[in-house]
């Protein structure tokens, strides 16, 4: 295949700018933007990040730096994912599209942006190819895209007007029909979707997106070498685990904490869990109290070490100090950045055995899959690998190198090249598996 030199003009649109917000989606979007602008196939690339200035959205556009724009936008109707400042869609945003004349718009997310911008792009110039990377299940699931029932306890496998109404009784069955109608018809305007995981792709297919329209491309990682193993002291074992992430109930830190408390003291004292977490103070008082009650005795016994929050660029250095990374999320996840970072650093990962986690971590190859929410199984698994003489070395060798940002950008440009706008053509050759083959570890 050949990519014509310097033809594409790519506008990357993201629901946030990583200067102000550090979610995985906006980081992935920004990294791609930076690789697009360096790529020979790209004439010009821009980044448009939505910004929240803590006031009612004004719809104003502004420059962050060269080729990077900020758009003060928000959502007025989360049910129908409708932008708060709709007037700016057909005025400022349309002006931006007219002025930049992109050939491709690569949108990351619709959250915080609304869906209307997709229509305006096609209205300004129907020949602009629009691609969207799906970062979680928000179109499918009204409950913040988590696909977890609103009781917070039950995982959800399927959206339907009737079932969604049960989670949100104040919204009628018909309201959910309207919600899907507006998502589907706006998604009709999109030339192709990118999903960082096969699991998420399948959820969107189950929901109604044609399989031929969704391609799996894993998020790229920095092209860094594997981290050296943690230096072991005399009599030390591979017993240090790291939790990295938000302390929301869905990230599931409480699961291994509960498990550790259930272990007998001798086994418990053989384990250290570093908690690199943020935003516990933003959680509900119930969850806060619950986690704190679990943390306190474990910290006193030296089993848990509270490390506090971290910036994305600090993640790598913090991983140096642990042997294992734990991802005990109680929701499906998509492609958690922390798994890719752990693999990049050469750290085997213990994950819940569902969704994107089960897809990215191969059991007993590059990590372990543990029953989601099963705290005693989590503790037993941690105790077992901590006591094992060879588990760490074996699993570490099983880790493949994640796709780099450059590979990720190239994979996207291949996708864009093969699927021109307005065509019914489906690239069956460029299936999810061929695109992602060799770009990261796969489950056999």
């Amino acid at each position: 295949m050949s990519i014509s030199q310097g033809e594409e003009r790519i506008l990357v649109i993201s629901h946030a700018h990583p200067d102000f917000s550090l979610g995985g989606g906006e980081l992935a979007a920004y990294n791609l933007f930076q690789r697009y602008r360096e790529h020979p196939a790209v004439e010009h690339a821009w980044f448009l990040g939505r910004i929240d200035r803590g006031r009612s959205a004004t719809g104003a556009l502004g420059l962050r730096r060269l080729d990077e724009y900020l758009w003060e936008q928000s959502i007025s109707d989360w049910h129908l994912m409708q932008a708060q400042h709709r007037d700016s869609l057909t005025t400022r945003f349309a002006d931006l599209i007219r002025a930049l004349r992109p050939t491709i718009v690569h949108a990351h997310h619709y959250m915080h942006l609304g869906l209307g911008f997709l229509r305006v792009i096609k209205q300004v110039d129907p020949s602009i190819r629009v691609y969207m990377t799906l970062h979680e299940y928000m179109a499918i699931c009204r409950n913040n895209g988590q696909m977890v029932k609103t009781d917070g306890r039950h995982l959800c496998s399927r959206a339907s007007d009737e079932e969604c109404h049960r989670c949100f009784p104040e919204q009628s069955v018909e309201d959910f029909w309207l919600r899907k109608h507006i998502f589907m018809r706006h998604f009709d305007l999109i030339d192709g979707f990118v999903s960082p995981s096969r699991f998420l792709r399948q959820r969107y297919i189950d929901w109604g997106i044609d399989p031929s329209r969704i391609t799996v491309i894993e998020n790229g990682q920095a092209d860094e070498p594997v981290l050296p193993p943690r230096q072991l002291e005399q009599g030390d074992s591979r017993n240090r685990f790291g939790f990295f992430g938000q302390l929301t109930p869905y990230k599931g830190l409480h699961v291994p904490l509960e498990g550790l408390l259930q272990l007998d003291e001798a086994r418990r004292r053989g384990i250290v869990l570093e908690v690199h977490g943020a935003n516990l103070e933003l959680q509900t008082p119930e969850y806060r109290d619950r986690v704190q009650a679990l943390l306190q005795p474990l910290i006193e016994q030296g089993v848990v070490q509270w490390m506090g929050s971290y910036a994305p660029h600090e993640l790598r250095s913090r991983m140096k100090g642990v042997d294992w990374v734990v991802v005990p999320s109680t929701w499906w996840e998509n492609s958690p950045m922390v798994i890719q970072e752990a693999f990049l650093g050469g750290r085997p990962v213990l994950v819940s055995d569902i969704g994107g986690m089960a897809e990215k971590v191969r059991h007993d190859v590059d990590g372990l899959q543990i029953a989601v929410g099963n705290s005693s199984q989590w503790a037993r698994a941690m105790a077992a690998v901590a006591a094992s003489a060879d588990a760490w070395d074996r699993l570490r060798l099983g880790i493949g190198k994640p796709m780099t940002h450059e590979q990720c950008a190239s994979a996207h440009l291949q996708l864009f090249e093969r699927r021109p706008s307005g065509s019914d053509q489906v690239i069956s050759a460029l299936s999810a598996s061929t695109l992602t083959e060799g770009m990261g570890p796969r489950r056999p």
Partner: protein
């Protein structure tokens, strides 16, 4: 002077007439009603002839008591207090010091009279006796031409004096009080609710003593000042011989013969302890009243035993002019299972009047049409969508319209905002939607909530295309190209007047596949049945264009000329229901059929706007009301069409 004027004049003069001293009138005689009556027919006197009667007295009993011979042969006194002519009757009231037979001789020699003894405490006081019972008399006889004389005495009859009838304008309170038993007797002898009867009962004061055999209560009375109509409900137990009516503050008299009667277990239980006579069957009643004014009083009265009783009184509360609000109030009255029967008797006349008045007001309300984008020239179809309660559906329409090139080239789109609360938001949203979707449209605000029929008619009034497509706001096309097949039907089959597509619910099951008329005996109404509702569309026996009894109004196409010829949607229904079948039946009268086109399918989130109204009993009462109105208009047609569909005259594939 006509009787009515007489009574009116008499009533009017009550205040102005000072009591006449010589009647010795006091409050006592009013304090006690006549308890005893003596009726003597004087036929035998008439046979004996005039010669048998003595010369009249020289003294005038109109001025002072005259000497007479009493029935017991002893001398006594007699005085005439008042003498009047009331219609065809002459009434004389007075007193005597003892029992005495009385009669009136007309100029032609005929002798007649019915006399009533009345208590006269004033006379007793004047005479210095203890008891006034029987001292007074009222004598009533048919009035004939010429002078009449008062006769008295049992054997040796005596002409007392020529009767000097007062000017009729003097039928004042005193006269009414003195003559009451005779007036009640007169009323009892007239045809109830005849004009004469009404004039009489309006004039007669009510008795003070409660009737031992009658009870009644007015629980609710309401009227609308605009249409001067209202209704009352309550309960009543009275003997069959009693005549019962409602009397408004202006004297209007309204019988209960038209009333809807109901069992009232509560009333029966309460009265069973108290009443010496068997209770009336179905004591509960509801009745509508023409000519009732809010803020006045309404009386429940009964004429029984020559006495008029006031059984109950109620203040007439105001009934809102808005038919829906009025209906809400009216339907809250207690009812039994025969709701249909009651609504037809009671609520329908009132609500009909309110609805007519309400629709009439629409004509005076300014209507505003807004153009958004450049209007289409020579459209082939006008899509008319009323909006009520929520306007967010519009964007969903535009999402679909936008991907339909034929529609964008050929459809004139009209939104009828039928909800004041939506105006402000829609004014800005309309332009935003136009910028976002680029679809030109018009929207119209009719200054009042008109309901589906009124709003749709308003939209049609500004439509420019030869075909009108009426669509509920919660109907959404599923795919482009849905309009031409509907229009083709109307273009190619002139015998079809109206055509509707298949509609499916959000879950994909059938919502509309034509309508049938089905009799619901338990409710006493015909309803519009949606066959196959809730089933998989693959189970729809209609695969092609089919003639059906009727089609839904949620999405229908009709030629504009036909629509105008049948005067559009009937806006006389409450809120909305049955307008669609009504329109189909109007077209049927014109020889035009209703057709169902299953090949075209849209989604209908049915009743989403109705969720904004309350559910529960009011909703079903409204349905009942509309069903009754529908079948009053179309009784014969409903039966015919139902028979036709049973015999297969209409059905799958007939028009294919």
């Amino acid at each position: 002077m006509p009787l009515a004027e007489l009574v009116a004049a008499g009533t009017h003069s009550r205040k102005n007439q000072p009591p006449r001293a010589e009647t010795c009138e006091g409050q006592q005689h009013q304090a006690k009603l006549p308890t005893e009556m003596r009726m003597n027919m004087f036929d035998r006197w008439a046979k004996r002839g005039r010669s048998a009667v003595s010369r009249p007295l020289r003294a005038d009993p109109h001025i002072s008591p005259v000497n007479v011979v009493l029935d017991d042969g002893l001398p006594g006194s007699l005085r005439i207090d008042r003498a009047i002519r009331l219609g065809d009757w002459r009434i004389v009231a007075g007193w005597s010091t003892g029992a005495i037979e009385l009669a009136i001789r007309a100029a032609d020699g005929g002798v007649a009279g019915t006399a009533f003894a009345t208590p006269r405490l004033d006379v007793a006081a004047h005479l210095g006796v203890a008891c006034g019972d029987g001292l007074g008399f009222v004598l009533v006889a048919p009035a004939k031409q010429g002078e009449a004389e008062l006769l008295c005495g049992k054997a040796g009859r005596q002409v007392v004096h020529a009767i000097r009838t007062e000017p009729t304008a003097l039928l004042d309170a005193n006269a009414l009080a003195l003559m009451m038993p005779a007036l009640g007797w007169l009323a009892s002898r007239r045809t109830p609710f005849s004009q004469e009867w009404i004039d009489l009962v309006k004039a007669i004061p009510v008795g003070d003593a409660p009737s031992p055999v009658m009870r009644g209560m007015l629980e609710y009375a309401a009227a609308n000042g605009g249409v001067r109509a209202g209704l009352a409900s309550g309960w009543l137990s009275a003997p069959e011989s009693a005549i019962v009516w409602l009397q408004d503050a202006e004297g209007g008299v309204h019988g209960l013969d038209r009333a809807f009667r109901m069992d009232r277990e509560d009333v029966c239980t309460a009265l069973a302890l108290d009443m010496p006579v068997p209770l009336q069957h179905q004591p509960g009643f509801c009745v509508w009243i023409d000519g009732l004014t809010p803020g006045t009083t309404l009386d429940l009265k009964a004429l029984h035993g020559n006495v008029i009783h006031q059984l109950a009184q109620a203040l007439v509360v105001a009934l809102p002019s808005d038919p829906v609000e009025a209906a809400r109030q009216l339907f809250s009255a207690p009812a039994d299972a025969r709701l249909a029967e009651r609504i037809a008797i009671m609520e329908m006349p009132v609500l009909d009047a309110l609805i007519v008045a309400d629709r009439h007001r629409w004509k005076t309300v300014p209507v505003r049409v807004h153009e958004v984008g450049s209007p289409m020239s020579e459209p082939r179809v006008s899509i008319i969508v009323p909006l009520y309660g929520r306007a967010d559906f519009v964007e969903h329409h535009f999402i679909e319209f936008d991907r339909d090139p034929w529609l964008k080239r050929n459809a004139d789109i009209i939104y009828v905002v039928d909800d004041r609360a939506l105006i402000e938001r829609f004014t800005t949203d309309a332009h935003m939607l136009h910028r976002l979707y680029g679809i030109p449209f018009r929207w119209i605000w009719g200054g009042a909530n008109r309901g589906f029929a009124g709003a749709s008619n308003l939209g049609a009034s500004i439509a420019t295309a030869p075909v009108l497509l009426f669509m509920n706001s919660d109907v959404f096309p599923q795919a482009p190209g849905w309009l031409p097949p509907l229009l083709d039907v109307l273009e190619q089959q002139r015998d079809i007047g109206i055509v509707a597509p298949r509609l499916v619910f959000a879950d994909g099951s059938i919502q509309h596949a034509g309508m049938q008329f089905v009799r619901r005996e338990e409710l006493g109404i015909w309803i519009n049945h949606h066959p196959f509702m809730g089933l998989d569309p693959s189970l729809d026996p209609h695969a092609h264009l089919s003639i059906v009894p009727a089609v839904t109004g949620a999405c229908v196409a009709i030629r504009r000329e036909d629509f105008e010829r049948v005067a559009g949607w009937d806006d006389g229904y409450l809120i909305g229901d049955f307008e669609d079948s009504d329109l189909c039946l109007k077209l049927r009268r014109e020889g035009l059929k209703s057709a169902y086109l299953p090949q075209v399918q849209l989604t209908h989130l049915e009743r989403q706007s109705f969720r904004l109204l309350d559910q529960g009993p009011f909703r079903s009462q409204v349905l009942m009301y509309n069903a009754l109105r529908h079948q009053h208009r179309w009784q014969d047609e409903l039966e015919h069409v139902a028979l036709e569909s049973e015999s297969g005259v209409v059905g799958p594939g007939v028009a294919a």
